[in-house]
């Protein structure tokens, strides 16, 4: 049977603003299927974003939503979670929003291990503002601000999250659409700060400048570079050249922030 996405979308909001072939819509569908599979109560689910094309996502969702300031989704989401620890809190945003202007919020939310799920739509560029390079833009790639090729190395966002202390880290791609809901659902169920990086395409500002002839070429590129973690175990360093690992990359149990904070309140009220 056709999946009923409409149930989770604010009436009258479609068509969305994203360009033809932009993967953000594919990720949004994955998020909806994850919410549906876990039977989350949309009235008890907050979706929080910063600014960018990716950050427009919550506006379409018939949940509790917050569209905040550029890079600041984690700060606002922390406020929501502290006020209502029983709420499901999901952050959505782009690579620019999350790792450039919001980089500090990102790493400290990881370190703190507060129970939320952060979905980063990594299209390797500032899509919304016309294609400036981001911290995720690959070396050599062209952006409006690197017309002769980007001299900087890119962040590996999933590794950054693991290094900063996130206790669940996964990666998928917009091509591997059927996996997206599963990764997000597992991330939501994990108690602690979970990061799901989805490698995405921006045909409009990245594809055109970087010799991708079509949306299909960009999708096929995602297909080619992705290697599931299990398969990678049997591959040599040479075979893994230019590939990215997908699936659940890291998982750990560690005390969660709202629970720890509740203990602080208890101690303070007992006066010791």
């Amino acid at each position: 049977m056709a999946f009923d996405y409409d149930k989770y979308i604010r009436p009258g909001k479609l068509p969305h603003i994203w360009c033809p072939g932009c993967g953000h819509g594919i990720v949004m569908k994955g998020l909806i299927r994850a919410i549906d599979s876990l039977k989350l109560d949309t009235k008890n689910t907050a979706i929080v974003s910063g600014i960018g094309c990716a950050s427009r996502l919550p506006g379409y969702m018939d949940c509790c939503t917050l569209h905040t300031a550029h890079g600041r989704a984690a700060a606002f989401a922390t406020g929501v979670k502290m006020a209502k620890p029983g709420m499901n809190v999901i952050l959505v945003g782009g690579d620019g929003d999350g790792t450039a202007i919001g980089g500090n919020h990102f790493i400290h939310a990881c370190r703190r291990n507060i129970d939320m799920t952060y979905i980063i739509l990594n299209n390797k560029i500032y899509g919304m503002t016309g294609g400036q390079f981001s911290p995720a833009t690959p070396t050599g790639a062209k952006a409006s601000t690197t017309p002769y090729g980007n001299p900087d190395p890119a962040f590996d966002i999933a590794k950054l999250a693991i290094g900063a202390g996130a206790t669940f880290v996964a990666r998928g791609t917009a091509y591997h659409a059927a996996q997206i809901d599963k990764l997000i659902a597992e991330a939501i169920q994990h108690k602690g700060f979970s990061v799901v990086e989805i490698l995405d395409d921006c045909p409009t500002t990245f594809g055109r400048r970087n010799k991708f002839k079509s949306v299909i070429e960009m999708m096929n590129h995602l297909k080619e570079i992705a290697v599931p973690v299990k398969a990678a175990e049997k591959m040599s360093a040479e075979q893994l050249q230019g590939k990215v690992l997908t699936g659940v990359l890291y998982k750990e149990d560690r005390p969660e922030y709202t629970s720890e904070y509740a203990k602080v309140i208890e101690r303070a009220q007992a006066g010791k």
């Binding site: 056709a2 999946f3 994203w18 072939g21 819509g25 299909i216």
Partner: protein, 65 residues
């Protein structure tokens, strides 16, 4: 047993003509008709749901019973 065919609904108002559904349908059921996707050969549909899954624009529904 006779093969039952699904109903493929394409919401033209949402379709942005990205070609994704046409390209990734394994049995070439769909085609572009001008700006939007359209059903060319429903008989070939194997109900794999790939088109519905991949459409970034919520524009395609594969209705099986």
């Amino acid at each position: 047993m006779e093969k039952t065919l699904p109903k493929i609904e394409i919401i033209e108002k949402y379709c942005k003509g990205c070609h994704i559904c046409v390209e990734f349908c394994p049995t070439k059921v769909l085609e572009m008709q001008g700006f939007v996707a359209a059903v060319k050969n429903l008989e070939a549909c194997i109900k794999c749901m790939q088109c519905e899954l991949r459409c970034p624009d919520f524009a395609i529904k594969v209705i099986t019973e």
